[in-house]
Each structure stands twice: as C-alpha cells, then as structure tokens.
Amino acid sequence: MNKPEKKSNEKFWLKLDNAAKIFPGQNKSKWSNIFRFALTLTEKIDPCLLEQALQDVLPRFPCFDVRIRRGIFWYYFEKNAYKNPPVMPDIKNPCHRVKFNENRYFLFRVYYHENRIAVDFFHALTDGYGASVFVSTLAAQYLRLLGKEIGVGGSVLDLHEPPSESDLEDAFERFASSKVKAKRADSFVYHRTGEKMPAHNVNVTTGYIPVDKLLETARAHSATITEYLASILMYVHYQRQLAEERKQKEVSVQIPVNLRRLYDTTTLRNFSLCYSVRIDPNLGEYTFEEILKQVSLYLRYVNNKKQLNAMMTANMGLERNPVMRAMPLFIKDLGIGISFLITGEQTTTALLTNLGPISLPKNMEPFVQRAMFMAGPGVLNGARLGAVSCKDVFAVTFANIYKNSDIERDFFTALVKRGLPVRIESNRD
C-alpha cells in the first residue's frame, strides 16, 4: 500500500465557529455528532478518479482541509499535513464515531459504493449546507475527470476561484447582535425507545418520494414540505405514546434552520440553528390537522430574523462570557459532556433536518440520479431524519439506534396512505 503523501508545513489555523464549539466536547468513544451527505451518479464510481477529484477540490475548501487540535482554552483547526483523506468502500454502519487521530486526521470520511459517493462529516466542520456544496463540487470534479463537460453554479463551486473570506467566516460572530437572549426549551419529552443496536451500529432507512407529488400534498394542506413531514413525525410519536398507556409527556420535533436564507453569507462552516416545535397531549386529543396547524403556525412565527438573532445571541453569550473564556479546555469539555448527558436529547423526541433542494448545473443533472442526507444517530432518539431533494426525487432518511422499526413504518405508511409513492432503501438485513 502506498504511503499517504504529506504536503508542506503551511501554518494555517482557524477558530471553531460558535456552533462547532460544543461538538468536540460531546465526542465520546462510542458516539460522535456526525452526519452524511451522498450523491448517486448514473455510473459506477472509480475510486482512483474519486481520490484525484478529492485532491483537486480540497484547496477550494480550506476549512475542510484541517485537523482538530487542543488549545489551552479552546479547540482549533490547523491545516492538515496530509494531502487528502483515504477514499474507502462504503460500510454498513455510516456515521460511526470520529476519532481525531484516525483517517489521516481529517474530520470527514469519503466512501463509494456502486454509483454513490458518500461523505460523513463531523459536525464541528460544517453543517448540511456546507456538506452539500462540498459533495456536489467533488462529484462535479469527478465527472470532469471522466471527460464530461460540467459547469459551475448552484451547489458546485468554481475550483479556479480562490476561497473567499465569506466562505470561511464564523457568521454567528458577525450576525449575533440581538439585545435579547432567547430562552431554551427545557422540559423533558417523550421518547420512543426499545432494544438498542450494539455500539457503533445504526439502522438507516431512506424513503424516496417524487418531489412534485409531495409538494402538491403539502400545499393541499397549506403547508411546506418541512411543516408537513414534521407534523407526520410528531403525529406518529403522539399516537405511539397514546398506545403505550402511560403518563403523557410532551412530544417535540427539533428542526434545524439554515440561516443563510435570512443572512447574507456564503460561509461553508456551521450556520444553522435548531428550534423545537412541541405539543402537550395532556391538553387534550389532537388530530393530524390540528398538529399540522400548530407546527405550521409555530415554524412561521419563529422563522424570522429577530427570533433567530435572539437565539444566536444566546448561544454567543456563552462564548463571549469572560469566565467561560478563561476556563481551561478540559473543564469546558467536562461541563459540555455533563450538560449533554443530562439534557442533550432529553428535550427532543425526534429531529427533522430538511436541506431543501440541491441545485446543480444544468449539464451535471443528467449524470446525477439523486441525493441523500442523513442526520447522525442519536444517543436517545430513535428517529433522526435528514431530508433533501435533488432533481425530482425527495429523499428522507431515518437514522435509528433501536432495533425496532415501528416509527419508520408508521411514518412511511402514513405517506403511502396519503397517496404518495415511497421507495425504500435500507441497510437492515
């Protein structure tokens, strides 16, 4: 086996962005906050060409070409001495934990399987948007190496352009300016649990749905796709809890929002926030329509610059706090670890992160079949959903740490009952 090549000792370093700061502290030997973005092309992937494409693309993404280091007070990114991470055949258990000294110190892993290019990202590096841009640009360059004429635009960046300052900025720092800090939701909520999979295993189930039909169905209910899917997810959890005949807890769905839609930045680093929409079954019985109305109204109420800025400012407040800043890193890590253990996923029943449509250059579209976005497996949540649409296919993927598949089944059969055709792909045996 060839020894991986090392580059020159360039000194380039970056602070972690505000959202990224908690992820290394949460990183444990059995669990990491990691997610996957994948593109399925029309031809079988050649790993040598993919590695070449990766080497071509990485200089355009200096914020990905890094390793993580421990400082005295904070973690930081330093330019990685290796040329590229290894390109590996895909595995059955995507998004297993990250160890900072593996994978040639890179914080993303590149896989291929048949026609699919899949990349697992440690969340400290970027969010779903940054991941989609990276994988789309990588796939575009791979297709160019195959001799196809592929342009730039949408999620595909121009490799001849140098990375801009805006690409690398911590946008939270620039935009968090509210005078008010938003309060966090704190009550513990319902979780559909069961027998857990062994450590490092996860059940991945993707449902592919025609995007036009899904949009039509959501619009018929005066809702967006995210609102519609979040409502179905909430409804199936609500129904499951009722069937358990136990004291009813609140049901909440956490929904990350891409802040780039509201703030003028092209950062490739984290720039998203999560809000939770919840219902309390103790208030009375809910129909699906009532849940959909509540979800729609709440999401439209919070999805504005003022509310989001207050949330951003609350998060920045911790980082700007002089006492917090002066604390040595190991104490911060300990605090983050304990707070994640106590609250973490206790305040959310499920997660739904919808990246929205991925826009590719017109001349690239014929070579791409579909995209897939997978949220990382949880520590308590069985239903963590990632969704993305590419061309005319909408893909929604469950990452489930439990053996039972009842929530996935309830969710997808609910779509089928509403007249939507769903095609299922899974890593289950």
């Binding site: 595995i91 059955k92 258990n93 934990r97 490092h200 136990r246 059969t413 055709p421 299922i424 899974s426």
Partner: protein, 234 residues
C-alpha cells in the same frame, strides 16, 4: 420492482424482505435475473477500536507503582520511623488486585476474580494482624467474615447468570444484608465475649425483612406495581 404487501412501499430490487416490517419479498417475475442488483449498502461493518484496556491497566499500574517504590526507599533510608511503607504497599496491592487486575483479562472470569479477591483481602488483613501482634482475631473474626462475604458474592454471580427481575434482586440483596449483619454481630460478640450474641444487627435485619415484605407485596400485586411505575416513572 417489488412492493411490500403489508406496508405498500416499493422495495429495493435487492431486498429479500421489507425493511419496515420484515415481510418476505415474493416476486416470481424477478427470481431469475441475470444481473441481480447490488444491495444499497455494503455488508462490511466497521466497529471502531476502543481504548485498549490492557494499555489503561498498564498506565494505572505505573501510576500506583512509582509512589510505592518511593515510599519503600524512603522507609529503608529512615528505618527508625517504623515499617509504615508495608501498609502503603499492601493497600496499593489490594487496590491493584481489586480494580486493575480484571482489566488484564480478555474475557470476564468471575469465579477466578472472586477467588483472587478473597485471597488478596485475607492476605491484606493478615498483614495488619501480623504487624500489630494481636492474637486470635484473624482466624476467629476476619476469616469467617471474609469467607461469608465471598460465599454471598459467589451465590450472586451464579444466581445473576440468568436474567432476574429488579424486585427479586432487591429482595435477595436485602436478605443477604440481614444474614451478613447477624453473622457479623454473632462472630464479634462471641470473640469479645460480650454476653449477648445478637444485638446491633436486630434493627438492621428487622428493617431488611420489613422491606422484603414490601417487595413481596409489590411482586405479587400487579395493580400496585402498575400504580408505582406510573407514579415514579422518570
């Protein structure tokens, strides 16, 4: 293409059963395909390596060993201060056998560990006994107490080999606490000839039996168990 007859979803061409409900796929039209489609995921499972337990055991052993060597050297250089380093070394050895030694085993061997821990504990107590030059209590108090404790542990290891209900475990542990307290009371009182064989252990064992009574009631009464789990769920 195949559809699940139970869920109504379209399945991947390579699927042998539905990923949502495990209903087997039966599609006579797709049985003899020349080029069967590859499954959507590889079958390779990557289980990341954890921290080596032997490596951690080695580090802890070194951390324990260094201050012990220092103590022994200091004690040898200052003989008039007594043989205090024996206590340090003996205590460190006990800690090592109880907590570090199990990490050196690649598989769990509860019976071997229990035997080693019993012998080590007896040796540890014997060192104190021998250095203080008191007569009698080692064989008449320490050995019976350590032996009974080991027997209780042996019983628990054997009994817990099968999955047990939490209520039954609580009852057995309480019975063992009562037994051990009565035995300790009797052995100590017999050795010191206090006149009463059992005294201090009475409130302990009565409390244990009262709690056992409560758990027996809980185990037998399904409605009460349901009420408890509803009131005390976390």
């Amino acid at each position: 293409m195949s559809y699940c007859v139970n869920c109504g979803v379209e399945l991947d061409k390579s699927a042998k059963k539905c990923a949502l409900c495990a209903t087997p796929v039966v599609n006579p039209n797709e049985k003899n395909e020349e080029h069967p489609q590859a499954p959507p995921y590889s079958s390779t499972l990557v289980i990341p390596k954890g921290v080596s337990r032997k490596y951690v055991a080695f580090i802890i052993s070194m951390v324990i060993l260094i201050p012990n060597i220092v103590c022994v050297i200091v004690n040898l250089l200052l003989p008039h201060t007594g043989s205090w380093s024996v206590y340090v070394v003996a205590s460190s050895a006990l800690v090592w056998f109880l907590f570090v030694f199990p990490s050196l085993m690649s598989r769990s061997h509860p019976y071997i560990l229990l035997s080693v821990d019993t012998v080590t504990s007896l040796l540890y107590i014997y060192i104190f006994y021998a250095l203080n030059k008191q007569e009698g209590w080692f064989s008449r108090v320490a050995v019976p107490l350590v032996a009974l404790f080991s027997l209780i542990c042996l019983f628990m290891v054997k009994w817990l080999a099968k999955e047990r209900d939490g209520v039954h475990i609580a009852m057995v542990v309480l019975a063992e606490i009562a037994l051990f307290s009565v035995f300790t009371d009797a052995v100590v009182n017999y050795f010191y000839v206090t006149g009463r064989l059992i005294f201090v252990s009475i409130p302990v064992s009565v409390s244990c039996f009262a709690l056992i009574g409560f758990f027996v009631f809980v185990a037998k009464n399904k409605r009460f168990r349901a009420w408890l789990s509803q009131k005390f769920f976390v």
